[in-house]
């Protein structure tokens, strides 16, 4: 979606009446209802555990010379199976088509792309971001600090059009094609952090620090929301994934606390009273499947589901 004005399919359903609100159905006031179903951190804890474990595994595989997860986030080998980062590979293929060296690429390269593409299609959306990306881990916590500063009125909020990330994506591809360099990889905070964890700190961590400070004091999630082409690639792969965040209009109290915690709030547009066009919605391609909204939701209106087999689960 290029403009923040959503091209929503169909007319919105009529806004929910008072007697249909989940708290009224339970015979509680809204406050009591929220207090009864207090948020937890179930998914966040799982997610952080996965993220930290994987990045530790990368480090441990090199530090202790164990063949578990070798390499770094731009390309690695998991128990001997190659894994390739998709945006990096896209640039690689593009440059090689230009230079005529496409045939040199190894079978392992294509196996790596295949495995990663399949995995992220099944996982859906920008799962990579919130479950694996080490920069995300820092930025997610920086975002909390940013939100706190905004709340305390120390800084002002800045936001741009979400769609500029597609412009950045295209520009990085053009740059790669023109310069015959993996330009993005030289400034990619994901790769820089990953390599710094595994092979020792790089001076480029200063650039990452600068980005984080900018995100804390100026624009919330600047890199992830408006620049990162890795995220764009993964969201394209995971757009039609069976795994998704499911929204059940019937159970929703329209408190919109989920949008407050959501890392990509534009994907939860349907939680606003009178916006939903269907009884059931699924969060879009930018959704990172982080589960923060699921942890927060008082009425269990938001759940992580696998389409097709959700009735079996």
């Amino acid at each position: 979606m290029l403009f923040s004005k959503k091209k929503r399919k169909g007319q919105p359903l009529p806004a929910k009446r008072r007697e249909d609100m989940p708290n009224v159905k339970e015979g509680l006031t809204f406050k009591q209802w929220k207090a009864k179903h207090a948020p937890n951190h179930k998914w966040r804890n799982k997610r952080w555990a996965v993220l930290l474990t994987l990045n530790t595994l990368f480090w441990a595989s090199f530090a202790f010379d164990i063949s578990v997860l070798e390499g770094s986030l731009s390309g690695s080998r998991f128990f001997g199976i190659y894994l390739m980062d998709l945006f990096n590979s896209l640039q690689q293929v593009l440059i090689r088509v230009r230079t005529g060296n496409f045939g040199m690429l190894t079978t392992n390269f294509f196996i790596g792309i295949g495995v990663i593409a399949t995995f992220y299609f099944l996982a859906g959306g920008r799962t990579f971001c919130s479950w694996i990306c080490p920069y995300h881990f820092l930025a997610e916590n920086a975002e909390k600090l940013h939100n706190w500063l905004v709340k305390k009125k120390k800084i002002k909020e800045h936001s741009y059009a979400i769609g500029v990330k597609y412009v950045a994506f295209a520009m990085f591809l053009v740059l790669a094609f023109v310069t015959k360099q993996l330009v993005f990889e030289d400034m990619n905070p994901v790769g820089i952090i990953s390599r710094s964890i595994i092979y020792g700190p790089s001076v480029l961590l200063l650039w990452v620090l600068g980005l984080l400070l900018f995100e804390i004091f100026h624009t919330k999630r600047f890199w992830c929301r408006y620049v990162c082409p890795m995220g764009v690639t993964y969201s394209a792969i995971g757009k039609f994934s069976p795994t998704a965040i499911k929204f059940d209009l019937d159970k929703c109290g329209h408190c919109r606390d989920c949008q407050d915690v959501c890392l990509v709030p534009h994907e939860l547009w349907f939680v606003k009273r009178g916006e939903a066009t269907k009884e059931v919605h699924f969060a879009g391609a930018d959704c990172t499947r982080c589960g923060l909204c699921v942890d927060t939701c008082y009425g269990d209106a938001l759940t992580i589901t696998v389409k097709g087999i959700d009735s079996l689960l």
Binding site: E70, S74, G75, S76, F172, L182
Partner: protein, 266 residues
């Protein structure tokens, strides 16, 4: 209660403005980064690319900086460059004075592991196959020869990381001097497997445990993994030949302060 994300209505004009800003921003930063990353500010001495590295222009995009070559090297000869090394960030290099490549891993493991053929294994594979065909032709009656023993030396000899250059001003042999003891200081961490050392076979051990006693120093010649195709003694001084692969063992074990034999990038 925290403020709700304000849904800003962004006009086509505003979006265009953001897009142009992004395009210019990415373009400018990208161009700067490209300039910085392609600049090689090393003098090319003793800082080499790993075996099988393709031509530098191609290497710069082919290398995705994953570090698999670094991980697989059993003697930690391959390292990843930071910006401070004067090489493109994240690309692999060998500082052969600190740790040379002694080919002791056998079959060019760093090359074989590279998923994007920045270190291109195909050329080595072909070279190995050529050697086998040649051996079979020359020895028609030898049916169960050791394929690996035929293949590997050919692959090693095919390597071209750089070329050794001898400085006759400081070279001990050129000055008629001998050498006794271990070539590097006690804290030196480098290892290598000496081809002359039958006792230790081909497993590398610390430079400090290699002891020499020569009336005229020739340790770079005797301990060269490639042998007489790469370096010989001529008129009592070492002479580097065409076959030098740039592995850097001679540079690493040169006993003079500041090596008398250095590696020039291929």
């Amino acid at each position: 209660m925290a403020k709700k994300e304000k849904e800003k209505e962004i006009s086509r004009r505003q979006f265009l403005r953001f897009s142009v800003a992004t395009a210019i921003g990415v373009g400018a930063v990208g161009a700067g980064v490209t300039y910085l990353s392609t600049k090689d500010t090393t003098n090319g001495e003793n800082m080499l690319r790993p075996p099988g590295a393709i031509a530098n222009d191609d290497f710069m995009y082919a290398c995705i900086k994953c570090g698999l070559c670094v991980q697989i090297c059993p003697i930690d000869a391959v390292k990843l460059a930071d910006l401070t090394q004067g090489l493109s960030y994240g690309t692999p290099y060998l500082d052969v004075r600190e740790q040379a490549c002694d080919f002791s891993c056998g079959a060019m493991q760093c090359v074989e592991t590279c998923p994007t053929a920045a270190l291109d294994f195909i050329q080595f594979k072909e070279e190995g196959e050529k050697a086998i065909t040649k051996y079979e032709k020359e020895h028609p009656n030898d049916h169960d020869f050791n394929i690996i023993a035929v293949q590997l030396p050919a692959m090693h000899e095919y390597t071209k990381m750089g070329t050794a250059v001898l400085n006759t001003d400081t070279c001990l042999a050129a000055n008629g001097k001998g050498f006794k003891g271990s070539p590097r200081d006690a804290n030196f961490k480098g290892v290598y497997a000496s081809p002359a050392d039958v006792k230790n076979g081909l497993s590398p051990y610390p430079v400090n445990e290699h002891e020499f006693d020569r009336s005229i120093c020739d340790i770079c010649v005797t301990d060269c993994p490639i042998g007489e195709k790469a370096i010989i003694v001529e008129n009592k001084i070492p002479k580097v030949l065409e076959g030098c692969t740039g592995c850097g063992v001679c540079t690493m074990i040169c006993p003079t302060e500041g090596p008398s034999i250095t590696m020039k990038k291929a």
